[in-house]
Symmetry: C2
Subunit: 786 residues, 2 copies
């Protein structure tokens, strides 16, 4: 099923009519508006997607009768006057996706046949269930039509109307106008007019419609009809209504115009991250009107069909810089955020505690499942969380080895291609590269190992050893499955394992004993080095690196003093940067579990809030924590941002972790696991090859044989395609631009927004992406590459 | 008027009853619950704060009649059966604060007289207006009683019930139970039970109450009463109800127990920012249950009166680390956050644009009002925003002066006591201090001027010149008013001005020409150096520093090459760190306006989101931007966090800036301005002494004469009290601990949570703090110090 696009046309002003409650007069309001449009010699149309109750009473019939020529349509009719979710039990139910597609198709048809104004009327109140039992406010959200809210004029109606408005807002709807009947006793319209005017939303009170004739006799239907006709004739000419229609029209025009100019305005005002502005044109900027689930709704700047919708669904193929987990516009997370904002706002964290920060610390320690970790330190993003981790590691090492860091340079041990963030301190933890070497204060402080890569080439999994290291590490090795690559308990005693350890030992020994370097921490991104080019490191190499560092503490003392006894860490503090790789990005709670290594410090961010707002945690072992313990305040970890442990982020994170943990165990991913032959109920141990991806094995095999493809890799939600580049690849390569372009425009049902790193194009899903979206993208990849 | 505390007692389970709509049976539900409690030999009580309609029909009368001995009380009775805000027009209206105080007092009285269970019933629906026209959900929020929600069983009731629930949630309420009448035709209870059970909220359907007898005759009242009595007798013994009461009781107990253990749990799990954990005890941790407006609701760990509320209001006297602007739990900001979360979640920003990021860029550039600024770069917090600013400044300077920063050290020019954040790169921008010198990778890179301070001593404003500089800068100068200190157009040509410039010029000349230093940027916190100890710098000194740097570009070339022509910046890029001082913290949109200087780069954070969530902007001039322009991608500003320009933060910021700008012009601050003799409608120019504070001039005069006080200062929302310390003051001083302790426990009406920096205690309000809260704090300060 294709995802539905958000609905916006230049020529057709389309709106959705929601009621603050049932029986507030939605259909009468719709009829008034359509009447008024028709009287202005424009064409109005009325769509009732789902109607319940006897056909004679149906709302579209009412419009047909009184709509002054309004075009009407009903998509699904149920007889019983109850909620659609109950009525729908009577007969075949349209799937929600089909219903949305039908609405979109109907509106598109109307836009293309010169209809000027359309109303899509809902049933009951905003949260009244649709045919499949989902709240209409959720069901219709992908269309994100601007809203005409019919407020409630009765006693209690103020409350219902404001609550309905709030429910719409927290799903990202724009309420553009409010109408209700005038009731001069309760005067809800006065109160609500002030309320909505403060929000720049016009409210128009309508005269109450004529009472139903009583007693009901043979003439009553006729009298009723006459009275209604007179009512509509009168009301639809009221100046308030005409002004409202003008306002609605202007809002539609303004919205399209704003979308048209946004790229230019952005080009003027925005300094983009990681972007060379020279040569960048406004047309290179994607204008995102909204997003839902896995899809951006992007402005279609190059329409080819007349009166096509201005917006189109575009798959968020970089998971919005690797952050997305539970879908854009997730109403549960919106509500979590709103609750925390309402309960706390932000409250001071130094010397204080609040429930969300405490709950998250507790939950996170359990989620990561590393028994060493006892303490949680909060920051705002991966870069600052890594700065904290570095401060922790360096302090612990200096304390153990008795170094005075103000007098000597303490370095980092890591891998080439590592990346830990954009602040200068953590930039220094990576070797000189495109990302950092032109930053004026960058001074790389460390040694970075080259390492063997895991990739699929020509249908075969292999560990590829860099040519320069083949003497030490041996030549490339092929594997039957990715699971076999990750079977470290097996591989650790292999010839490769011995060679890796020997090489690592000798290298460190040379660096310390002969070159005089001092190391303060081992920092790794477990399994996958992200920004460095989506490099999948042979997990055995990372495992061996850990073992050598921990098993040989004497390596790191430059003199003969033997290091202090170490209750937990040994050699160097081991820091795992799981900002990108942790929390289900690779299909597991913690990417450290692929290595079977318990780090001393770990950093999590990105998916931590399910993909909503920035938050980062640095967790540490008790012994690392105690390295800062002293009678001196100035020995403390003197780090802390203003919004440390902000309640909104912590609350959303608690709920996100809960939701992701549930997906891990409720069978949601069993299909993927089966495709990869992974265990369905995974024990979290590196020993068991529980290795799978949302991307199908078959796709990888096929793509890896394509002429233009150098290699492929997939794990968890990540798919990496390295393209051949005769000029050698790397960050400045443009080899993947062509594929990126094909994805951006080539979809039958939707396009795909992707990011590239030199000759590498990667795709990344959320943890809730629908298999059919993924398979559709796979088809797109096949057609582009095979 | 004293702020009301949130309501929580160990012995008394107090709840508020909200209805999903009017006429859903709140009072019947209350009666059922009270009946059930009474039958368990516990004492129930029922409070109707505001009742409308004839006394005979009043809800408390119903409870009296059918409540099986339930204690009942009504605080305000209005005769007409309409919304309280209309009914209240008839007679004297209780102020909202009085109403809250009465409820709290009543409940406290009940808690102290061994009542076990209490219900506080609202009128109508959740947003039905209270007597003063404010939504009840907002009005009663300070009490934050746990909610019994009575859902709506009628057609449309599913929608109303869920929307009402959402409105409560986004105000930070905890809905603890849902009840409604069973209707086997609409079956709302089935749908809603599933809905609420998914949220771990129990829902209990009740049998529908007996129909009102018809026809109404002489016996009908009696028959009605008998039927109701039978109904209550039957329903209140149902096992569902008894289980629900048990659950409610357990939730109350669990909540108190959780609050009791939170400090210990935090001590176990949390690694606190800027905190030496050695010697820290759980009792030193403030447990914050919620916050509203300017007040935390803190757990009272040391109750002295039996059955006192477990929670007490505590003024957030550090504005939660300087972030607060528009009050905790601000419902407008919650809704803004929720809307953005619903519309976008977080969307990719590199190469894309969305409305909130664009609107904020536009609005911010207008708010700051510096014509040089054309570009906005987004990050997550002040520290990362300053890292970006440093990268900008260094690049621009290196480009202009032709330096290769990888080969030579480029330094920063600044002031002693500056602080720009906790990441290592910006730590290097400050001189060695307690905050940074023990950080292993810290390497201060710069020269930092000592400078004259502004303070009030013994009732007189003066500019105090450090003893070591009196030869160069002259001796201390007294002023009649703070306005006169800031009258820079006058002072710039004074003897002080000339001396300042000469001194600065000679110092830089010496550093560059003789010591061979190279400078890449001038970085200042305008007017007030925050973390460095709340130091108010003589604005004339900062003005002169700018002038010398800009007027003498030849100072910065170490060779005879004359610098390139400079369309905007000259000498050095000037970076203003307004993270703390900007956006109304000091009473003006931009603190740069106090200096009359237009910087080349400025950083804003903290108040940017009104105090809700992390977001930071670094704004820059076109020329700074163009220093990164090149055909090489690697010359770009390669910085960008995953959540760059996150939609939630940008949306909240747009709304916060709008709200703060309105306060600036709508007269809200006129009282403060009048007290300080400042212009009421301030033109934003450094030339006009528009200098004022929310803290009264009289307080400053008095405190500055106190024996234990060294000096005081106030500007905008900030009050600084430097206490005498025979040991010399500074960050490690404990002189202010005693005052902090008095504020934390000494209030008649509320306590004050404050932060100290060595011998300095500061207080900071939000921009919406109520004058009476401020005056109450002033009284507390007087009683502590005078």
């Amino acid at each position: 099923m294709a995802p539905v696009g958000a609905a916006l046309w230049r020529s057709l002003r389309a709106h959705q009519v929601y009621g603050a409650n049932t029986d507030v007069g939605k259909t009468i309001v719709s009829t008034v508006l359509c009447n008024a449009v028709q009287r202005q010699k424009q064409q109005a149309a009325f769509l009732k997607p789902v109607s319940t109750g006897p056909l004679d009473d149906a709302d579209d019939q009412h419009l047909k009768r009184f709509g002054a020529g309004t075009l009407t349509k009903c998509l699904y009719q149920f007889d019983e006057p109850v909620s659609p979710h109950i009525a729908a039990r009577q007969k075949t139910i349209p799937r929600d996706d089909d219903l949305l597609a039908s609405i979109h198709k109907t509106l598109t048809g109307w836009a293309q046949s010169d209809i000027d104004f359309a109303l899509v009327e809902t049933a009951g109140g905003v949260h009244s269930p649709g045919p499949n039992g989902n709240s209409q406010a959720d069901l219709y959200r992908p269309l994100r039509l601007p809203i005409v809210l019919v407020a409630d004029a009765r006693l209690g109606g103020i409350s219902c109307s404001i609550s309905a408005y709030e429910s719409l807002l927290l799903r990202g709807y724009d309420v553009q106008s409010v109408l209700l009947f005038r009731d001069d006793y309760y005067k809800n319209h006065e109160y609500l007019r002030e309320f909505f005017n403060n929000k720049s939303i016009p409210l128009v009170p309508l005269p109450a419609p004529p009472a139903r004739p009583f007693p009901q006799d043979v003439d009553s239907q006729k009298r009723d009809e006459e009275a209604m006709a007179t009512y509509y004739q009168r009301v639809s000419q009221e100046s308030d209504i005409l002004r409202l229609l003008e306002d609605m029209s202007k809002r539609n025009t303004d919205r399209v115009q704003r979308l048209e100019e946004m790229a230019d305005r952005a080009q003027d005002l925005i300094w983009y991250p990681f972007t060379q502005h020279q040569g960048m044109a406004a047309k290179d900027i994607t204008v995102i009107d909204s997003a839902h689930d896995d899809y951006f709704q992007t402005f279609r700047s190059d329409r080819t069909i007349a009166n096509e919708s201005e917006l189109q669904p575009t798959f968020d193929g970089s998971a919005s810089w690797w952050t997305q987990g539970l879908g854009h516009g997730n109403p549960e997370l919106s509500l979590s955020a709103a609750y925390a904002a309402g309960r706390y706002g932000h409250v001071m964290f130094a010397g204080a505690v609040h429930e969300p920060a405490l709950s998250l610390a507790d939950k996170l320690l359990k989620t990561i499942g590393n028994p060493r970790f006892t303490k949680v330190f909060y920051t705002d993003n991966g870069s600052t969380g890594m700065e904290v981790a570095v401060k922790m590691g360096l302090r612990a090492a200096c304390e153990r080895y008795g170094w005075d860091a103000s007098q000597e340079q303490i370095s980092i041990l890591g891998l080439k291609g590592s990346y830990h963030g954009d602040t200068i301190g953590v930039m220094d933890c990576s070797e000189p590269s495109t990302f950092n070497k032109k930053v004026e204060w960058y001074r790389g402080r460390g040694h970075w190992f080259d390492f063997p890569l895991v990739k699929m080439v020509q249908g075969k999994w292999k560990v590829e050893v860099p040519t320069s290291l083949q003497k030490e590490l041996g030549s490339d090795v092929e594997f039957d499955s990715l699971g076999a690559v990750f079977d470290l308990d097996q591989r650790v005693n292999s010839d490769s394992g011995r060679r890796y350890r020997d090489y690592i030992y000798c290298t460190i020994e040379d660096l310390v004993k002969r070159q005089g370097m001092k190391f303060g921490a081992l920092i790794l991104e477990p399994v996958l080095l992200g920004a460095g080019g989506m490099l999948f490191c042979d997990p055995l190499f990372q495992r061996c690196l850990n073992e050598v560092v921990r098993d040989n503490p004497e390596l790191f003392t430059s003199n003969s003093v033997s290091p202090k006894q170490s209750p937990s860490w040994s050699g160097l503090p081991v820091i795992f940067d799981e900002v990108f790789t942790g929390l289900y990005r690779l299909g597991r709670r913690s990417s450290a579990s692929f290595l079977g290594v318990h780090a001393d410090v770990a950093v999590n961010a990105k998916l931590l809030t399910g993909g909503l707002i920035p938050l980062c945690t640095t967790v540490a072992s008790q012994e690392i924590f105690e390295a800062f313990s002293s009678p001196e305040k100035s020995d403390a970890l003197l780090h802390g941002h203003s919004y440390t442990a902000h309640a909104v982020g912590c609350t959303v994170a608690v709920d996100s972790l809960r939701a992701m943990a549930q997906l891990d165990t409720d069978g949601s991913w069993d299909g993927y696991r089966a495709d990869w032959g992974a265990k369905v109920q995974p024990p979290e141990s590196g020993a068991v090859p529980n290795v799978w991806s949302v991307w199908s094995q078959g796709l990888l095999k096929d793509l890896s044989c394509a002429e233009t493809v150098e290699s492929v890799f997939a794990l968890g939600t990540v798919l990496v395609i390295a393209l051949r580049d005769v000029h050698g690849g790397g960050y400045t390569s443009t080899a993947s631009k062509g594929l990126q372009q094909k994805l951006a425009t080539g979809g039958d049902q939707f396009n795909v927004h992707s990011r590239v790193l030199g000759n590498v194009l990667y795709l990344m899903s959320s943890v809730t992406s629908k298999p059919q979206s993924l398979r559709e993208m796979e088809a797109l990849l096949r057609s582009a590459l095979l």
